[in-house]
């Protein structure tokens, strides 16, 4: 193990103490998989070109604890997902555009199902935008570019995503707009009131200024896991989902009733639980179709705030 990896592990252990551990199996609500509609693919593992202070899975330029998937591993996943009747595919990371075969992987996926990727947009230049537009036009299924931006000013965004990132992300969005693609901009509510109506209008205004003619914005609640507990705080001891919280109406809108996450290390229940060894369901999608348990503190956010990672 390299020095950087061991220090990452040490940092990670420090953070984990800020979030209570999972509920015992017998105390946790059980949720069957209604259907495998959405397959998330952790394409670049935890590798990212920036290290956001609120990242819920602690990704960064030196974070290699979950490795990048190979093109062949992705191809196997896509084939299995297709056999299982997948409705949509999402690529995430880390920063999925760091994958050396990113565009080929995207083309493979678009041959199977509508596809989205979650990016910070920093690697989107004129050439990348043109390649994305070509993929968009060549596929009969929709390609959705999701770009994370956490403020309408450098001050707000850069306070969590790092100095200088606002300008780089804005440039990436402008490149997409230039080729006629309309990204979905996702905003994490890292400050009070970010999802308020006026703030939404400010985001839509900014996107129009960047040339996006059909702007879309999606707000996401903060997840107090990963790096976030060191920025603010983690979950309280009583912030768990109890079996009685899981009414049919709540269960209906939980994304883990219709998704699984595929990583280089196996299949997990959902994108939030990347770092929870006990959330690993098996080595392939076919092993991961059974019920899951809502044991983790982060499950509290999905239940109480109706979080849906999908667009």
């Amino acid at each position: 193990m390299s020095m950087s990896t061991s220090s990452a592990v040490a940092r990670r252990s420090e953070m984990l103490r800020l979030v209570p551990g999972p509920l015992p199996l017998e105390a946790a609500a059980e949720l069957p998989l209604a259907a495998l509609d959405t397959v998330w693919i952790q394409l670049t593992g935890t590798l990212c070109n920036i290290a956001c202070r609120h990242c819920f899975i602690t990704c960064g330029p030196k974070e290699d604890r979950v490795r990048m998937m190979t093109h062949a591993e992705v191809a196997r996943t896509l084939a299995e997902a297709e056999r299982l009747g997948v409705k949509e595919i999402y690529f995430t990371g880390g920063e999925p555009m760091l994958h050396p075969e990113f565009f080929d992987v995207l083309a493979d996926s678009l041959a199977v199902a509508p596809t989205a990727f979650l990016s910070n947009g920093i690697l989107i230049d004129d050439l990348a935008a043109r390649r994305l537009r070509q993929l968009f036009d060549a596929s009969r299924y929709s390609l959705d570019c999701r770009i994370s931006l956490d403020g309408t000013s450098p001050e707000t965004n850069d306070s969590v995503r790092g100095r200088g990132t606002f300008q780089k992300i804005a440039r990436g969005i402008a490149c997409l707009a230039e080729v006629g693609l309309a990204p979905v901009v996702t905003v994490v509510e890292h400050q009070e009131g970010m999802a308020a109506a006026e703030e939404r209008l400010r985001f839509l205004g900014l996107l129009r200024e960047l040339g996006v003619t059909r702007p879309r914005v999606k707000f996401l609640p903060l997840l107090r896991i990963g790096r976030e507990p060191t920025r603010t705080h983690g979950y309280g001891e009583d912030e768990f989902v109890r079996p009685e919280d899981l009414t049919p109406e709540v269960a209906e809108r939980l994304q883990c009733r219709s998704c699984r996450l595929v990583t280089a290390d196996g299949v997990m229940t959902c994108p939030l639980l990347l770092d929870e060894p006990e959330a690993r369901l098996g080595s392939a999608l076919g092993d991961a179709l059974g019920p899951i348990r809502l044991r983790w503190a982060a499950c509290h956010t999905c239940v109480s705030e109706g979080l849906q990672c999908r667009t």
């Binding site: 997902a81 009747g85 997948v86 949509e88 199977v112 509508p114 299924y141 959705d144 309309a182 109506a197």
Partner: protein, 290 residues
């Protein structure tokens, strides 16, 4: 003694109706209070020889005078499925359950829902409450499922660009009239934009579009499906998507007089959607003007 075990596997029993002779059937959805487009659709279908009319639901919303739709449905003995709108109006729920997420979309959806709910008679609402959610028929030996959004969820959007072959095959596998059965043909509406797909194994999914609102294609016309069932034909179920023109300027006048939003009127007059845009997938959205 009757053979009970055979009765359980009778392939005909689970179907609501069996069509074994030549028949022309009009299938449409999304009336959205557009009584003029409904009349034009019924007339066009009759001219094409249709003797049966199927509506996949969503009678209200968007347009004017909800109660003008009902006599036309009854007059042609239209078989109507319950859409999410009809379920909401029928039960007097708080919203249309259309599945929007954007606040602007929800604002307009709320305006049109409150108008429709207030202007729909109690008798028509009772009718909407009693509509079936799904219909399963057998046409020329094929298993046909009719649904509003998707067979598994009334307000699920089946758009052309977000419905993978793999997913549609799974829906058809699960959409049989009984456990273990499967459908050969699925007809849906709910999105408002028509499309059809033949899957690699030959089974088909058809979104018939909507007759109440143009298909965001810059034309004021609306779409429905004309289905010719003919067991003797090389294609026993032939589906033709038909465009229908109607007096859209008169509808726009009626909408203005009812103080419905100018944005809705503009859609009727231009053929471009101006609201409820965020639900459109990227491909469908880029084809529109807004």
């Amino acid at each position: 003694m009757p053979d009970v075990s055979r009765a359980h596997v009778d392939p005909v029993a689970p179907f609501d109706r069996v069509v074994e002779r030549r028949a022309v059937i009009a299938v449409f959805g999304g009336v959205y209070n557009n009584h003029l487009a409904l009349q034009a659709t019924l007339e066009d279908a009759e001219q094409q020889g249709a003797t049966r009319f199927l509506c996949l639901g969503d009678l209200g919303g968007f347009g004017p005078h909800p109660d003008k739709v009902w006599p036309r449905l009854l007059g042609h003995e239209v078989t109507v499925l319950q859409g999410n709108y009809d379920h909401s109006v029928g039960h007097g729920l708080l919203d249309c359950a259309c599945g929007y997420t954007d606040p602007r979309d929800n604002h307009f959806a709320s305006l049109s829902y409150r108008y429709t709910l207030a202007k729909t008679s109690e008798a028509f609402r009772a009718y909407q409450r009693g509509l079936p959610a799904v219909i399963h028929e057998r046409w020329a030996g094929q298993s046909v499922r009719l649904a509003h959004g998707s067979p598994r969820q009334v307000n699920e959007f089946l758009w052309e660009s977000t419905s993978s072959d793999a997913f549609l095959s799974r829906l058809l596998d699960e959409a049989g009239p009984r456990a273990g059965g499967r459908a050969d043909l699925l007809l849906v509406t709910h999105t408002g934009i028509p499309w059809q797909r033949r899957l690699p194994d030959g089974r088909r999914v058809i979104n018939v579009g909507a007759i109440g609102r143009p298909a965001n294609d810059g034309s004021t016309t609306v779409w429905y499906a004309l289905v010719t069932v003919d067991p003797a034909a090389p294609e026993p179920i032939a589906v033709e998507m038909r465009r229908v023109a109607y007096d859209h300027e008169r509808l726009a006048d009626e909408m203005r007089r009812e103080d419905l939003p100018q944005e809705f009127v503009e859609t009727i007059l231009t053929g471009w959607w101006t609201t409820c845009l965020e639900i459109l997938p990227p491909k469908e959205r880029l084809r529109g003007k807004f």
